[in-house]
């Protein structure tokens, strides 16, 4: 399992990073006045769509968990619908959490929601791809000793680093520097993106370094 798996993981992650980088540079060829900071919402949409697409494609190609034996069409459709519902629910619950953290309730609602969508893309979409709409499994992965493969391990790292990135992204907001990126929610989205990228980069490396110590139970 060891080295080949880690290599595959690394390639997958590099593709994800690549998609984010592309989402920064490609649209400027098609859209006028496109820049990450000024047309931030557009960039958020493009970034989330591209990251979701890359995740889905990679999931279909790599198939990290070849587990589901029943593969009738109706099962797949219901599973897909369930995933969509989960995704929406996660968007809304993130939105609620941001409001609880002090985001304005009415004004800037679209901005807040797009931040929720972006964060969901970085966290919920990989979870859905890897674990499926299975809440128990999610809780298992995100509690201690719950991971059962390097994929889940990297999932854990990227998700947590995205959250931490968003969390840290809120710190510059009260500073009186008056920079454009201190506007809500730009610093948080940037934090989420950096956190996600950092997670993508570090998780294969971390797993590689700790590969001697890592033993997973069920494989």
């Amino acid at each position: 399992m060891k080295d080949t798996d880690i290599k595959r993981l690394l390639y997958v992650h590099l593709l994800c990073i690549f998609s984010i980088i592309l989402s920064i540079f490609i649209p400027s060829f098609f859209l006028e006045n496109f820049s990450v900071l000024e047309t931030h919402l557009t960039w958020l949409c493009i970034c989330s769509v591209s990251v979701t697409a890359v995740n889905l494609v990679l999931y279909l190609v790599v198939k990290p968990n070849a587990s589901s034996k029943r593969s009738s069409l109706s099962y797949k459709v219901t599973r897909f619908l369930k995933c969509c519902i989960y995704f929406l629910m996660s968007c809304f619950s993130f939105h609620v959490i941001f409001v609880l953290y002090g985001a304005p309730l009415i004004e800037l609602a679209l901005e807040t929601f797009l931040l929720a969508v972006t964060l969901s893309t970085f966290t919920t979409v990989p979870c859905l791809c890897l674990l499926g709409p299975n809440f128990k499994a999610w809780l298992r992965v995100f509690s201690r000793n719950g991971v059962t493969s390097i994929w889940e391990n990297s999932l854990q790292i990227t998700t947590v680093s995205s959250f931490v990135g968003t969390w840290l992204g809120a710190f510059p907001i009260p500073l009186d520097w008056g920079r454009p990126w201190q506007e809500w929610p730009i610093s948080c989205t940037l934090g989420a993106t950096f956190g996600y990228v950092a997670g993508l980069v570090t998780s294969p490396l971390w797993i590689y370094w700790n590969r001697k110590k890592l033993t997973y139970k069920n494989n």
Partner: protein, 991 residues
């Protein structure tokens, strides 16, 4: 040396207070002042300079105005007069500003924008030190030279009506006075009527020269309902009519006298968007200043825009106008337009007098004054002035005279500006040496505390303080020698005044001994710790194995908060930090609960038993776990099966929902009061509720909150206290109705507003009653040992008495803060802390966080502007200092105090429950309080340093410095701090 933790804590607090005091002494700028005392009253005025020819004008110039009326409107922000509100509500004043014979200015007040220091600045022209804020409530006699003193000495007759502060500052100076107390902030008509009722009589009289009127109503309206309230407009119209009355009367009288009269309309400070004042925002600093006199006549097309000047400039101008010597400590420069209409010789004479006074002040305060650019400019202009006088006396042609004269005038004005600026800057200089010594002391104590905390937490109430050995060590003596050398070098070389150097040798030596002893103790504690660490690392179990994610969050949050205070924005917006941390804490609790509930009972039984050693070093790191916790957690889990498994049905659902309940409560409270600096002007629920249109809504909200408070508090009280509580809460509602904040349902709109003294005293009786029963129960439990139920009931009764008092003192729109804090406490107790079995340390820190957050939920901030002084006058019909200060302090710190009270209750009730792992509460509580106190000290010092580094406004910094010094409050020990701090307050003022 072995010390009990209590002794140790007390020692640390004393030393820390000493350090903070030393630091503050260095930080508070020593006000620029004239050292030549008041005994040189008859100092002859500077003669006119002359080159060669001898001028015959050596006396002071005669007064420019015969009568001066100063109409001071408290909190008269510049846009109340010059903005759209002024145009709308002050038509007469607007006419005078735009077309009349007047000069209008925007006078910039220096922080602290509090009334008493501002009055001092207006009358002495000096920059009062920040320490004057502390004395704002109880202003002592002003000893410095001021316009009033000079006027009195010159035999002018002064009449004063208005704010009592003036009478306290100038007790023997007024021919006649009537002081109104400014402490009934809720009263905004009577304070002003008390002033206006004298007007008719006094304006007809001829036996005075200076009349001072101080109107407080506008400021009170600001404190009650903010600068956008409809009451402001009404008050401004009232002021306008007063101004008109005075002006017409002065004009009528002028026909009979030779000299014109002067009417000064000014504000002492502005008003922030929230309605308070004290800090340094633009709205608080800019005040209106209008000088009206027929001497300032202008041609029809002459448009005069308000110019920016300093508030301190008024003192010099008034002195010149009254023909008095300029107050010696004044750093202001003459407002030149006032003398513009005079002949050139007089203009130059006035400017010369002002420059001479400023340069004298500079000589007294700056040892190297000869190098100052202002002084050089002064010398140049004096020489030119002399030449001009010679030409003048030789009666040269007027064109040459005029050209040279205007050149001299420009020179003088430049010199004045430079001198004034460098003197103001002088007032803001720090005593770095004392500050450094204080900081070192505080940091050493904190380091020692941090090093000893693990030992103290280990359970023994005793700890080993490495004190004796260092005292005899070589290091100690070397350090002491080095410090003494440093002291001598600093004290002999520095040219500015320094507090430590002015201390007697023994005291300074004591400080040095303290510093070196503590340093040695820290060093030896560190070495001891490293030795222990290396021993431990050989052991299989690392010592930090008990840290869970929650512990990590709590630790990093607390440390991070302290670090964040290095940026001044984080001091100004500290509430954001606490809200953020509390939210994160709730989410972390949520994660813990859900894991315990779902994974705990479904996965764990199959997975846990054989998960132990196999998983060492796995996957845990990204979430910041180390290998240890797993083992420990599993141990604990196997010993005590997950507590949440036992819960079924509704209770389980409540546990699952509790974090979300708390989060929503916090979000609600957050939108109740906007605080801080950057977003303070945003609309919030509090303003909406307090506006007069929404009295009905506010009444409903207050009723609901009071009922909630009763329901949540009563269940653990004895019957008598229950009844007392109910009556007390009812009394609170009646009090608020009497004061005019709330309405009874059968009442449409109340017209008769009283001070509600009867109602408030009615509530006080019940508060005292409940506190008394509580204390009685506590004492009883002391006698009959081990009677835990009586003890917990007693503690809870004391707590509920405090809640009742808080409900009385808090503004009605803040009652939900109290109710929701009780809700959160109940939910946390029943559904989080008990089921999840958090240990005492965790619970304590959580209480600390929530207490801090609630400090800000109440609408407080790190600026003194948000302190609600009206709370100190509930139920008092005159200002009584001690109760007023205590009540204000309690109302300000309600959140932290109530959370601390709840902590005591919680720990006591846990101790009485048959649970295995709760610790004895007392020592731990003391210890945590101690650390948090030292945190505040560090906070203050870090804030100061950052402020200094940025050179920006010091407001946030000094306000947060006052927090550890404030009487009462979260820190039970801060009373001690104040007591220690008090004796050196007079010294500060001595200058």
């Amino acid at each position: 040396m072995r010390l009990g933790s209590g002794t140790f804590a007390a020692c640390c607090v004393v030393i820390e207070v000493l350090g903070v005091a030393l630091f503050l002494r260095g930080f508070f700028p020593v006000p620029v002042c004239s050292f030549s005392g008041t005994e040189h009253q008859t100092e002859s005025p500077a003669p006119e300079p002359s080159a060669g020819a001898i001028s015959n004008w050596t006396k002071l110039p005669p007064p420019l105005f015969s009568k001066v009326v100063i109409m001071l409107i408290d909190a008269l922000r510049d846009d109340f007069v010059f903005g759209s509100e002024g145009v709308k509500f002050m038509p007469y004043t607007t006419y005078l500003v735009e077309k009349g014979s007047s000069h209008s200015f925007v006078a910039e007040a220096k922080p602290p924008t509090v009334t008493m220091p501002r009055i001092k600045a207006l009358m002495t022209g000096s920059l009062p030190g920040f320490i004057d804020v502390v004395r704002n409530l109880n202003s002592p006699t002003l000893l410095e030279d001021s316009v009033i003193t000079q006027a009195k000495a010159a035999g002018k007759r002064i009449i004063f009506y208005g704010d009592e502060t003036w009478v306290k500052l100038f007790p023997k100076h007024f021919l006649e006075y009537d002081g109104t107390t400014s402490f009934f902030v809720s009263d905004y008509t009577e304070v002003d009527d008390n002033v206006t009722r004298h007007l008719d009589k006094v304006l007809k009289r001829r036996d005075w020269d200076v009349l001072i009127l101080h109107y407080l109503g506008l400021d009170h309206i600001g404190h009650i309902s903010g600068p956008n309230s409809p009451l402001i407009g009404r008050k401004l119209s009232e002021m306008d009519s007063v101004l008109m009355k005075i002006h017409t009367s002065l004009l009528a009288e002028e026909r009979e006298t030779l000299l014109p009269n002067l009417l000064v309309l000014c504000g002492d400070h502005g008003m922030s968007e929230a309605g308070g004042h004290g800090a340094s925002s633009v709205e608080e600093v800019n005040t209106a200043l209008i000088l009206i006199s027929s001497a300032f006549e202008r041609k029809p097309g002459d448009v005069r825009h308000p110019k920016y000047i300093q508030q301190t400039d008024l003192a010099a101008t008034l002195s010149i106008g009254l023909g008095l010597p300029i107050p010696r400590g004044s750093v202001g420069s003459l407002i030149f337009p006032v003398v513009e209409g005079k002949p050139m010789r007089e203009q130059l004479r006035f400017l010369h007098l002002n420059t001479v006074q400023l340069s004298k002040l500079l000589q007294e305060n700056v040892p190297s004054y000869r190098k100052e650019p202002g002084f050089e400019q002064f010398k140049v202009s004096e020489r030119l002035h002399g030449n001009w006088i010679r030409l003048y006396l030789e009666e040269n042609n007027s064109e040459v005279l005029f050209n040279l004269g205007s050149k001299v005038r420009r020179q003088y004005l430049d010199a004045l500006r430079t001198l004034s600026l460098s003197l103001s800057r002088q007032a803001a200089q720090y005593d770095v040496y004392s500050m450094a010594a204080g900081t070192v002391l505080v940091l050493e104590v904190v380091a020692l505390l941090l090093l000893c905390v693990p030992q103290a937490l280990s359970g023994k109430a005793e700890l080993d303080v490495p004190l004796l050995s260092p005292v005899s060590s070589l290091l100690f003596y070397l350090l002491l020698l080095a410090l003494a050398a440093l002291h001598v070098v600093v004290c002999t070389s520095s040219d500015s005044s320094c507090y430590l150097c002015s201390l007697p040798w023994l005291a300074a030596g004591g400080v040095m001994v303290l510093i070196s002893t503590l340093l040695c103790a820290v060093v030896s504690a560190l070495t001891g710790m490293f030795a222990a660490g290396s021993r431990l690392s050989k052991n299989p179990l690392p010592s930090n194995s008990r840290w869970s994610e929650l512990d990590l969050l709590i630790l990093s949050g607390t440390v991070g908060h302290v670090l964040s205070l290095g940026a001044s924005s984080f001091i100004e917006e500290e509430h954001q930090t606490w809200y953020f941390l509390v939210n994160t804490l709730c989410l972390a609790l949520c994660h813990e609960i859900y894991r315990n509930c779902f994974v705990g009972d479904d996965c764990a039984p199959q997975r846990c038993p054989h998960a132990g050693e196999e998983f060492d070093g796995v996957a845990a790191a990204p979430q910041g776990k180390s290998t240890g916790p797993d083992v420990w957690e599993l141990d604990r889990a196997s010993k005590h099966p997950s507590p949440l498994e036992a819960l079924r049905g509704p209770e389980r659902w409540m546990v699952l929902a509790s974090p979300w309940v708390i989060l929503s409560c916090c979000r609600l409270l957050r939108s109740l009061n906007q605080t801080g600096v950057q977003w303070a002007h945003r609309p919030d629920l509090g303003h909406w509720l307090t506006s007069s249109d929404h009295k009905a809504e506010l009444s409903v909200l207050a009723t609901v909150s009071l009922i909630m408070i009763f329901v949540l508090v009563q269940k653990r009280c004895s019957l008598a206290s229950k009844v007392a509580m109910a009556f007390g809460l009812l009394g609170i509602y009646c009090y608020r109705v009497a004061v005019g904040n709330l309405l009874f349902p059968w009442q449409q709109n109340n017209k008769d507003i009283s001070k509600g003294i009867t109602e408030a005293r009615f509530v006080y009786v019940f508060v005292l009653g409940i506190l008394f029963t509580g204390t009685k129960d506590l004492l009883k439990s002391q006698i009959t040992a081990d009677d835990f139920t009586v003890k917990t009931v007693g503690l809870w009764e004391i707590y509920s008495g405090l809640v009742l008092l808080a409900a009385l003192l808090l503004r009605p729109h803040n009652l939900p803060v109290l109710a929701l804090s009780l809700v959160i406490q109940t939910v946390m107790t029943h559904f989080v802390w008990r089921p999840l079995r958090h240990d005492a340390a965790e619970v304590t820190v959580m209480h600390y966080w929530f207490g801090q957050a609630f400090f800000y939920f109440q609408g407080n901030s790190n600026s003194i502007a948000t302190v609600d002084i009206s709370a100190g006058f509930v139920g008092l019909d005159a200002y009584v200092e001690i109760p007023a200060v205590l009540l204000t302090a309690f109302a300000t710190y309600t959140g932290p105090v109530l959370w601390a009270g709840h902590l005591v209750n919680f720990l006591a009730s846990e101790a009485s429950r048959p649970a295995p792992e709760t610790q004895a509460s007392g020592t731990l509580y003391l210890r945590t309080k101690l650390t948090s106190t030292s945190m505040d000290g560090v906070k203050a010092s870090i804030g100061f340093w950052s402020k200094k580094a940025r050179g920006g406004s010091r407001c946030g910094g000094w306000a947060s410095a006052l927090r550890p010094l404030a009487p009462g409050g979260l820190h039970l020990l801060s009373a001690l701090q104040t007591a220690t701090a008090d004796p050196w307050l007079p010294q500060l003022q001595a200058c």
